[in-house]
């Protein structure tokens, strides 16, 4: 149960980016929480909703995408999704995996409103 500490860490970046871009409001935040990140998205959302009160992200909506646990075999190059987290290669049976997805905890995108004139399309 360390979701609140993750949210606190995420807010450091949110507030930094809001300053850099002179945001008036943060309206949305998109994150990636890997299937083996050890974080429960629902708990993260509750922590986010508690933390955002009184900040520039007061009305922000948190969206979570959950990359599945994906390994690439260093022996044959096969890439596979493993819901059981067992990384042995289903194609060649080698036990030499590289974890390519599933452990990530990434702040992907911040949606904000600024006073800047719209940039030319």
């Amino acid at each position: 149960m360390h979701e609140l500490s993750l949210v606190a860490s995420m807010f450091e970046t949110l507030l930094d980016q809001a300053r850099v871009h002179k945001a008036k409001r943060i309206t949305g935040v998109k994150i990636q929480v890997g299937a083996l990140a050890g974080v429960v998205p629902e708990l993260l959302e509750s922590a986010f909703d508690a933390y955002k009160k009184g900040t520039i992200a007061e009305d922000a909506v948190l969206t979570t995408v959950k990359p599945p646990f994906t390994v690439r075999c260093r022996s044959c190059g096969n890439e596979s999704v493993r819901d059981d987290f067992v990384p042995t290669c289903p194609a060649c049976g080698a036990a030499d995996p590289e974890i390519v997805h599933g452990l990530e905890l990434i702040l992907e995108k911040i949606e904000m409103e600024t006073d800047d004139p719209p940039s030319p399309a």
Binding site: S5, L6, T13, L36, G38, E108, E113
Partner: protein, 222 residues
């Protein structure tokens, strides 16, 4: 008012990752092997450290950072063995973070060979935080049951070493060493597994030899 999407694509724990990288650099420059010990409460982390303190006497210099929610108890047990120890009490947090280690580090002697960090007893949250260690060691004790690796996969997936601890209790428990080992190795084929008992001494020579060897590798690069 203009809407703007800012693509950050940054690790949410970037601050921790940076602090951990700085700690790893500093320790390895000094030739110190840092070990992060992870397990459920009561798996025998502190008892293992007491046994290691005895075995390393005259062989290597060690220091210990203890993480607990409350009390100095673990640090006191380790100090009683003549080993310098620092207690971090998290006051409720379920894991240690690299910045907590960074705060203690200036007090830790620079001429040690091993720095053991005993994490808060918890098989879930500590697995998400790099503390700047070179080796992550997870303990699974025989009373806990041999079915734990797949129930708490991240701790085993991210560890370098698995200690099946309290091996001396095997005669009294239905714990199947081979099953636990196979399950952990299925999750992490690179895991080094040792069957140990800090009480009877089983497996401790092998584990100590492994640690000394890992430390020599660090020292030769320092």
């Amino acid at each position: 008012m203009t809407k703007k999407d800012v693509f950050v694509l940054q690790d949410i724990l970037l601050g921790n990752a940076q602090a951990a990288a700085a700690i790893r650099r500093e320790l390895e420059t000094r030739g110190i092997l840092a070990i992060n010990l992870l397990s459920s409460p009561g798996a025998g982390k502190t008892t293992l450290l007491e046994a290691l303190a005895d075995r390393f006497k005259g062989l290597a210099r060690i220091a210990v950072i203890e993480g607990d929610i409350e009390t100095e108890r673990d640090a006191e047990r380790v100090r009683a063995k003549g080993v310098p120890a620092w207690q971090i009490t998290t006051g409720g947090a379920c894991h240690l973070e690299a910045k907590m280690i960074g705060k203690v580090l200036p007090e830790v002697p620079t001429d040690i060979d091993f720095l053991f960090i005993e994490n808060v007893g918890n098989l879930v949250c500590p697995a998400g935080y790099d503390l700047g260690e070179r080796l992550r060691v997870v303990l699974l004790s025989t009373p806990e049951g041999d079915d734990k690796p797949k129930k708490y996969p991240k701790a085993f997936t991210t560890a370098d070493v698995l200690l099946l601890s309290k091996a001396d209790l095997r005669p009294y428990l239905p714990f199947d060493i081979e099953k636990a080992k196979a399950e952990a190795l299925a999750l992490n084929p690179k895991l080094r597994v040792f069957v140990v008992s800090a009480v009877s001494g089983e497996g401790m020579d092998e584990f100590v030899a492994f640690l000394l060897n890992a430390r020599r590798e660090i020292a030769s690069r320092a």
